[in-house]
Amino acid sequence: MVGPSGAGKTMLLRLLNRLEVPTAGEVSYRGRPLDELDPLALRREVGMVFQRPAPFPGTVRDNLLVADPDAGEDELVAALRSAGLEARFLDRSADELSGGESQRMCLARTLVTQPAALLMDEPTSALDPDVRRRLEHTARRLADDGRPLVWVTHDLDQCARLADAVVVMIAGGVATGEDRDRFLAGDSETGGDDDEDDDEDEEARRG
C-alpha cells in the first residue's frame, strides 16, 4: 500500500486491525464484518507491526512471552528466526537492541501469535538502507511462505522491489485510473524515500 504521507495509509491499517473503527462503511475479514468478530482474536489472526518499534521492558524473551505466555522455547526461537534474528537474542535486553533489531523483535513478537496475515506500517522508515533491505527480504520470505502481508510505504522504489499487488492511496481514498498511474510513475514529488514526513502520518492518524 503506497501513497503520499497524510493519505490515510496508517489509518486504513489501523482499521484492519480494529485499533480504529470506521465512522462509515465496513471492514471485513474473510467475508465477515469485523464487528461480528472477537476483536482480540482478530488482532492475533491479523498481526500488526508498527512504524516505530515499541519494545516492552525486559529481555527479548519477556517481549515474546507477552504475545503468548505459554509459548515454548522452540516456538520463540522459530519466531525469532522467521524475523531474521538468531536464538541468542532471547536473553538480550530489549531496550539495548539497535533500531533494526528492535523492529525485527517486534515482528517476531507478532509472529508468536501465529497470525494468518501481517500488517506492517512503514516498518523500515526509521532504519538505515542496509538494514532496510534485510527487513524487506524477511518480509518477502514470510509472504512467499503463504502469509499475506500488507506493507505500507511511501517509498515507490521499495514498493517496486516488494509488491505483488499495489494499492495506491491518495487523500484518504484508493486512487484508480490516471491518478494511480501518475503517482506510480513518480510524477509526484512525494515519492522520495526520506523519513521526514512520517510524523505527518502520525499527526494524521491522531486527528
Binding site: 500488526m48 508498527f50 521492558p57 517486534c106
Partner: protein
C-alpha cells in the same frame, strides 16, 4: 479555653499581613490587590457561615442526622471541586463520587464503627471533612497520572492490544506506575510529619490548650486514616478511570492532556 479565642480584635490584627501583601502588590505592580482583598473577604464569609452552621451541628441537642447530611454535602462538593480541577478527565464526577464516598465510609466506619470516637456531630463533621478534603488532591493526582502514563506510552499500550491482549492486561503496567506515583506523596507526607511541619489538627489542638501528647495521638490517628483513604481513592480511580480509557472492543480512546 480562653487563651484559644483570639476574638474579633485578634482577627483584625492578623489583617495587617494582608495589608502588607496588598502593599507589596501595589509596589511591584502585580495587580493582585483586588484578588487578594476578594479572597480575604470571601474566606472570612465562608468560614463564618460554616462556623455558625457548625455551632448548630455540634450542639449536643441537634440530631446527629444533620452531621451526616453535612458529610453527604461535602462528598458532593469534593466531586465538583475535583471536576473543576481536572476537567479533561472523562467521567471524573462519577469516579470522584464513588471514590470519596467509599473512602469516607471506610474511614468513618473505623472511627465510629469501632468506637474510636462517639458518634456526635462534634467528631463526625471535622473527621469526615479532613478525610474528604485530603481525598480531592489524591484523586486529581491519580487521574492525571493514569491519563499521563497512558498518553506517554500510547505506542506500547497499542502494541500490546495489537498482540491480542485485553485492555486490562495492556494497561496494567502503566496503571500500576500511575497509582504508585499518586500514593507515594502521601506516604512521604506521613514519613515527614512532625519533622518539617506540624499538621493542622495537632496545631489547632495545641493552640486550643490540649496536652501536646494527646494532640499527637489524634494527629497520628488522622494520618493513618488519611493514608488509608488515599490508598482507597487511588485504587478506585485507577480501576474506574482505566476502564473509561478503553472501549468495550479494546481500543484506547484519544486522550486529552492536562493543560497544566
Amino acid at each position: 479555653m480562653d487563651s484559644s479565642a483570639i476574638g474579633w480584635s485578634g482577627l483584625a490584627l492578623s489583617l495587617t499581613l494582608v495589608a502588607v501583601a496588598v502593599g507589596l502588590s501595589l509596589w511591584r505592580g502585580l495587580r493582585l490587590e483586588k484578588d487578594m482583598l476578594w479572597a480575604t473577604g470571601r474566606a472570612l464569609v465562608q468560614l463564618l457561615a460554616v462556623g455558625y452552621l457548625l455551632v448548630f451541628v455540634v450542639d449536643p441537642d441537634t440530631p446527629v442526622a444533620w452531621a451526616w447530611v453535612w458529610v453527604v454535602v461535602m462528598v458532593g462538593v469534593a466531586s465538583l471541586t475535583a471536576r473543576r480541577r481536572a476537567p479533561e478527565v472523562p467521567g471524573i464526577l462519577g469516579l470522584t463520587l464513588a471514590a470519596t464516598s467509599t473512602s469516607a465510609a471506610l474511614s468513618l466506619f473505623v472511627v465510629f464503627g469501632l468506637g474510636v470516637y462517639p458518634v456526635v456531630g462534634r467528631a463526625v463533621v471535622p473527621i469526615a471533612g479532613m478525610m474528604i478534603g485530603n481525598s480531592i488532591g489524591s484523586i486529581v493526582v491519580a487521574c492525571r497520572r493514569v491519563i499521563g502514563e497512558m498518553a506517554d506510552h500510547r505506542a506500547e499500550v497499542e502494541a500490546r492490544l495489537a498482540l491480542g491482549q485485553p485492555w486490562q492486561d495492556a494497561s496494567k503496567p502503566f496503571v500500576r506506575v500511575a497509582l504508585r506515583t499518586a500514593m507515594t506523596s502521601q506516604i512521604e507526607n506521613t514519613k515527614a510529619v512532625g519533622l518539617v511541619f506540624l499538621p493542622g489538627a495537632m496545631t489547632g489542638l495545641i493552640l486550643a490548650g490540649a496536652d501536646p501528647v494527646d494532640a499527637v495521638l489524634v494527629q497520628a490517628a488522622i494520618m493513618y486514616l488519611i493514608l488509608g483513604c488515599v490508598a482507597t481513592n487511588v485504587v478506585i480511580i485507577g480501576l474506574g478511570l482505566s476502564r473509561r480509557l478503553f472501549t468495550p472492543d479494546h481500543r484506547l480512546v484519544r486522550l486529552a492532556r492536562a493543560a497544566a
